[in-house]
Protein backbone atom coordinates (compact mmCIF):
# COMPACT_ATOMS: atom_id res chain seq x y z
CA UNK A 1 0.00 0.00 0.00
CA UNK A 2 2.69 2.44 1.03
CA UNK A 3 4.79 1.36 -1.89
CA UNK A 4 1.89 2.01 -4.25
CA UNK A 5 1.40 5.46 -2.75
CA UNK A 6 5.04 6.37 -3.19
CA UNK A 7 4.99 5.06 -6.73
CA UNK A 8 1.88 7.00 -7.71
CA UNK A 9 3.01 10.23 -6.11
CA UNK A 10 6.41 9.90 -7.76
CA UNK A 11 4.64 9.33 -11.05
CA UNK A 12 2.60 12.48 -10.54
CA UNK A 13 5.69 14.56 -9.98
CA UNK A 14 7.45 13.06 -12.99
CA UNK A 15 4.39 13.77 -15.11
CA UNK A 16 4.19 17.36 -13.91
CA UNK A 17 7.88 17.94 -14.56
CA UNK A 18 7.76 16.46 -18.02
CA UNK A 19 4.68 18.51 -18.87
CA UNK A 20 6.55 21.61 -17.83
CA UNK A 21 9.66 20.69 -19.80
CA UNK A 22 8.43 19.22 -23.09
CA UNK A 23 8.29 21.48 -26.09
CA UNK A 24 5.64 19.58 -28.00
CA UNK A 25 2.19 20.73 -26.98
CA UNK A 26 0.37 17.57 -27.99
CA UNK A 27 2.74 15.50 -25.88
CA UNK A 28 2.25 17.68 -22.89
CA UNK A 29 -1.54 17.50 -23.21
CA UNK A 30 -1.37 13.71 -23.37
CA UNK A 31 0.88 13.67 -20.31
CA UNK A 32 -1.62 15.93 -18.54
CA UNK A 33 -4.30 13.37 -19.34
CA UNK A 34 -2.30 10.58 -17.75
CA UNK A 35 -1.61 12.87 -14.81
CA UNK A 36 -5.35 13.21 -14.28
CA UNK A 37 -5.84 9.46 -14.51
CA UNK A 38 -3.16 8.84 -11.88
CA UNK A 39 -4.84 11.48 -9.77
CA UNK A 40 -8.12 9.65 -9.95
CA UNK A 41 -6.42 6.45 -8.76
CA UNK A 42 -5.02 8.45 -5.86
CA UNK A 43 -8.51 9.66 -4.97
CA UNK A 44 -9.53 6.00 -4.70
CA UNK A 45 -6.58 5.39 -2.36
CA UNK A 46 -7.74 8.36 -0.31
CA UNK A 47 -11.20 6.77 -0.01
CA UNK A 48 -12.99 9.42 -2.04
CA UNK A 49 -14.82 7.60 -4.85
CA UNK A 50 -16.88 10.70 -5.69
CA UNK A 51 -13.74 12.55 -6.54
CA UNK A 52 -12.35 9.64 -8.49
CA UNK A 53 -15.38 9.51 -10.78
CA UNK A 54 -15.45 13.26 -11.23
CA UNK A 55 -11.74 13.54 -11.91
CA UNK A 56 -11.83 10.69 -14.42
CA UNK A 57 -14.80 12.21 -16.25
CA UNK A 58 -13.89 15.89 -16.01
CA UNK A 59 -10.12 16.01 -15.64
CA UNK A 60 -9.05 13.16 -17.87
CA UNK A 61 -12.06 13.32 -20.16
CA UNK A 62 -13.55 16.72 -20.82
CA UNK A 63 -10.50 18.88 -20.11
CA UNK A 64 -8.29 16.79 -22.38
CA UNK A 65 -10.88 16.83 -25.14
CA UNK A 66 -11.06 20.61 -24.90
CA UNK A 67 -7.27 20.81 -25.12
CA UNK A 68 -7.25 18.54 -28.16
CA UNK A 69 -9.92 20.55 -29.91
CA UNK A 70 -7.96 23.71 -29.21
CA UNK A 71 -4.81 22.24 -30.68
CA UNK A 72 -6.78 21.11 -33.69
CA UNK A 73 -8.22 24.57 -34.19
CA UNK A 74 -4.75 26.06 -33.96
CA UNK A 75 -3.50 23.56 -36.51
CA UNK A 76 -6.46 24.40 -38.75
CA UNK A 77 -5.68 28.10 -38.46
CA UNK A 78 -2.11 27.38 -39.47
CA UNK A 79 -3.25 25.44 -42.53
CA UNK A 80 -5.62 28.25 -43.44
CA UNK A 81 -2.80 30.74 -43.23
CA UNK A 82 -0.57 28.62 -45.39
CA UNK A 83 -3.30 28.33 -48.00
CA UNK A 84 -3.82 32.06 -48.06
CA UNK A 85 -0.09 32.67 -48.40
CA UNK A 86 0.08 30.26 -51.32
CA UNK A 87 -2.82 31.97 -53.01
CA UNK A 88 -1.12 35.30 -52.63
CA UNK A 89 2.22 34.16 -54.03
Amino acid sequence: MTFLTWLLLGFLIVCALSVALTKNLLTSVIILMSYSLIMSVIWILLQSPDLAITEAAVGAGITSVLFFVTLKRIHAIDEDRKDQDEQKS
Binding site: L9, L25, V29, Q47, S48, L51, V58
Partner: protein, 125 residues
Amino acid sequence: MSASLADHIYEVASVILFGIGFTTLLLDRNLIKKIIGMNIMDTSVYLFLASMGYISGRSAPIGDGTAPSAENIINPVPAGLVLTGIVVSVSVTALMLALTIRLYHRYGTLDIDQIVTLARKGDEP
Protein backbone atom coordinates in the same frame (compact mmCIF):
# COMPACT_ATOMS: atom_id res chain seq x y z
CA MET B 1 13.22 16.27 9.05
CA SER B 2 13.19 13.10 6.98
CA ALA B 3 10.93 11.32 9.44
CA SER B 4 8.47 14.17 9.42
CA LEU B 5 8.65 14.34 5.62
CA ALA B 6 7.63 10.70 5.47
CA ASP B 7 4.69 11.50 7.72
CA HIS B 8 3.56 14.17 5.30
CA ILE B 9 4.11 12.41 2.02
CA TYR B 10 0.92 13.64 0.36
CA GLU B 11 1.44 17.19 1.52
CA VAL B 12 5.03 17.19 0.31
CA ALA B 13 4.04 15.80 -3.07
CA SER B 14 1.27 18.33 -3.46
CA VAL B 15 3.53 21.21 -2.49
CA ILE B 16 6.07 20.13 -5.09
CA LEU B 17 3.32 19.89 -7.69
CA PHE B 18 2.05 23.30 -6.61
CA GLY B 19 5.49 24.79 -7.15
CA ILE B 20 5.80 23.25 -10.60
CA GLY B 21 2.32 24.32 -11.64
CA PHE B 22 2.71 27.79 -10.24
CA THR B 23 6.00 28.33 -12.02
CA THR B 24 4.61 27.06 -15.30
CA LEU B 25 1.56 29.30 -14.98
CA LEU B 26 3.56 32.37 -14.10
CA LEU B 27 6.74 32.05 -16.12
CA ASP B 28 6.19 29.87 -19.16
CA ARG B 29 5.43 32.04 -22.14
CA ASN B 30 3.33 29.59 -24.08
CA LEU B 31 -0.36 30.14 -23.36
CA ILE B 32 -1.30 26.48 -23.57
CA LYS B 33 1.54 25.59 -21.23
CA LYS B 34 0.28 28.23 -18.85
CA ILE B 35 -3.17 26.68 -18.86
CA ILE B 36 -1.69 23.24 -18.23
CA GLY B 37 0.29 24.74 -15.36
CA MET B 38 -2.90 26.17 -13.93
CA ASN B 39 -4.50 22.73 -14.04
CA ILE B 40 -1.54 21.18 -12.27
CA MET B 41 -1.57 23.89 -9.63
CA ASP B 42 -5.27 23.46 -8.97
CA THR B 43 -5.15 19.68 -8.76
CA SER B 44 -2.19 19.89 -6.40
CA VAL B 45 -4.22 22.02 -4.01
CA TYR B 46 -7.07 19.54 -4.29
CA LEU B 47 -4.68 16.72 -3.47
CA PHE B 48 -3.53 18.66 -0.43
CA LEU B 49 -7.10 19.29 0.64
CA ALA B 50 -8.24 15.72 0.16
CA SER B 51 -5.24 14.31 1.99
CA MET B 52 -6.40 16.22 5.05
CA GLY B 53 -9.69 14.39 5.06
CA TYR B 54 -8.14 10.94 5.00
CA ILE B 55 -7.89 8.99 8.22
CA SER B 56 -6.04 5.71 7.98
CA GLY B 57 -8.14 2.62 8.38
CA ARG B 58 -11.49 4.27 7.78
CA SER B 59 -13.76 3.87 4.81
CA ALA B 60 -15.38 6.10 2.23
CA PRO B 61 -18.24 8.42 3.24
CA ILE B 62 -21.00 6.26 1.77
CA GLY B 63 -23.33 4.68 4.28
CA ASP B 64 -25.47 1.58 3.80
CA GLY B 65 -28.79 3.06 4.83
CA THR B 66 -28.18 2.79 8.56
CA ALA B 67 -26.81 5.59 10.68
CA PRO B 68 -23.02 5.28 10.44
CA SER B 69 -20.62 5.85 13.27
CA ALA B 70 -18.14 8.69 13.04
CA GLU B 71 -15.39 6.29 14.11
CA ASN B 72 -15.44 4.34 10.86
CA ILE B 73 -15.67 7.01 8.23
CA ILE B 74 -13.23 9.57 6.88
CA ASN B 75 -13.91 13.28 6.94
CA PRO B 76 -16.30 14.12 4.08
CA VAL B 77 -15.77 17.90 4.05
CA PRO B 78 -12.63 18.04 1.86
CA ALA B 79 -14.22 15.76 -0.72
CA GLY B 80 -17.13 18.15 -1.11
CA LEU B 81 -14.85 21.16 -1.40
CA VAL B 82 -12.66 19.44 -3.99
CA LEU B 83 -15.74 18.48 -6.00
CA THR B 84 -16.68 22.14 -6.17
CA GLY B 85 -13.13 23.12 -7.02
CA ILE B 86 -12.75 20.66 -9.91
CA VAL B 87 -15.75 22.13 -11.69
CA VAL B 88 -14.49 25.66 -11.14
CA SER B 89 -11.14 24.80 -12.65
CA VAL B 90 -12.65 23.11 -15.69
CA SER B 91 -14.73 26.22 -16.40
CA VAL B 92 -11.71 28.48 -16.10
CA THR B 93 -9.74 26.12 -18.35
CA ALA B 94 -12.43 26.29 -21.02
CA LEU B 95 -12.49 30.07 -20.89
CA MET B 96 -8.73 30.35 -21.15
CA LEU B 97 -8.60 27.92 -24.07
CA ALA B 98 -11.24 29.93 -25.91
CA LEU B 99 -9.19 33.04 -25.33
CA THR B 100 -6.13 31.23 -26.67
CA ILE B 101 -7.95 30.31 -29.87
CA ARG B 102 -9.02 33.91 -30.45
CA LEU B 103 -5.54 35.25 -29.78
CA TYR B 104 -3.99 32.72 -32.10
CA HIS B 105 -6.41 33.72 -34.82
CA ARG B 106 -5.41 37.26 -34.45
CA TYR B 107 -1.69 37.13 -33.88
CA GLY B 108 -0.61 33.70 -35.09
CA THR B 109 1.44 32.89 -32.02
CA LEU B 110 0.97 31.37 -28.63
CA ASP B 111 3.74 33.33 -26.96
CA ILE B 112 2.13 35.80 -24.57
CA ASP B 113 5.06 38.25 -24.71
CA GLN B 114 4.91 38.35 -28.48
CA ILE B 115 1.16 38.78 -28.39
CA VAL B 116 1.45 41.73 -26.07
CA THR B 117 4.18 43.30 -28.21
CA LEU B 118 2.12 42.79 -31.35
CA ALA B 119 -0.93 44.26 -29.66
CA ARG B 120 1.07 47.30 -28.66
CA LYS B 121 2.52 47.77 -32.14
CA GLY B 122 -0.83 47.89 -33.79
CA ASP B 123 -3.79 45.73 -34.17
CA GLU B 124 -3.11 43.72 -37.29
CA PRO B 125 -0.29 41.19 -37.33
